[in-house]
């Protein structure tokens, strides 16, 4: 399955692009997606501890199992207000 990934805030600069997509086997987890993203975008790997991951509009952790049709967002700590 192909999972589109959006980078928000300065993650887009670090990735050099606002979006990408990752090809993953059925049953892959958020953690597996992150490993793939970090291969292509090593500048993001160092921020993994503070990276927030959303699938659709819900926060998810590394163990969450992705499904075809999911959209993933990666972003740094939020700063509203």
């Amino acid at each position: 399955m192909t999972i589109p990934v959006t980078f928000w805030s300065y993650f887009a600069e670090l990735a050099g692009r606002p979006e990408t997509s990752v090809e993953l086997p059925q049953g892959a987890t958020v953690g597996a997606l992150l490993e793939r993203v970090y291969v292509d975008h090593p500048a993001l790997a160092g921020l993994r501890r503070s990276t927030l991951v959303a699938v659709g509009v819900e926060y998810q952790d590394d163990t969450h199992v992705l499904s075809a049709g999911d959209r993933v967002s990666l972003f740094p700590p939020v700063q509203g207000g």
């Binding site: 980078f7 300065y10 600069e13 670090l14 050099g16 606002p18 959303a54 740094p76 509203g80 207000g81």
Partner: protein
């Protein structure tokens, strides 16, 4: 609990918001917070902040927070406006109002909502330095950012 959420690039019109406030007879406390862009962040002198927002997720997360407030008792109304895009120094980026029966719960709810917003609602800001107000600065973040080859704001709000 009545709730109102607006995420907008327009200036926040507090007078208009107050003009449409309505309280039922049991309500005794209104707490309103305005967050205004400061002219300095650390050592830097700012002209503005550029806010970006992942709008569908922000709306969803705000409503989850409102749901949690609704379970708390005698809060009658929560209204929140977050401005996004470029917000100049001295202008409000956030306005929050809580109407409740009593003062303590109104203050507590208003502060809780802002604290939680800053934890879970996907909005980010970056400084626009006073010396170059047409060009956003390097993003605020923990890591040195490579110079992007993309335009200065790669994350326009959807």
């Amino acid at each position: 609990m009545k709730r109102s959420l607006l995420i907008t690039t327009d200036p926040i019109d507090e007078a208009a918001l107050i003009a449409v406030r309505s309280l039922s007879a049991g309500m005794g406390a209104v707490v309103a917070f305005s967050g205004v862009v400061r002219g300095r962040e650390g050592d830097a002198s700012l002209a503005a902040l550029d806010y970006t927002c992942f709008v569908p997720m922000a709306e969803y997360q705000f409503h989850r927070l409102f749901d949690r407030l609704a379970g708390r008792g005698t809060i009658e109304s929560v209204r929140l406006v977050h401005r996004i895009g470029r917000v100049a120094v001295g202008e409000a980026s956030l306005w929050v109002e809580v109407v409740a029966a009593h003062r303590a719960e109104a203050f507590e709810a208003c502060q809780w909502l802002i604290d939680e917003m800053k934890r879970v609602v996907p909005i980010w800001k970056r400084a626009v330095p006073a010396s170059a107000s047409d060009e956003p600065s390097a993003p605020a973040g923990p890591a040195p950012a490579p110079v992007p080859s993309t335009p200065s704001d790669p994350n326009p709000a959807p």
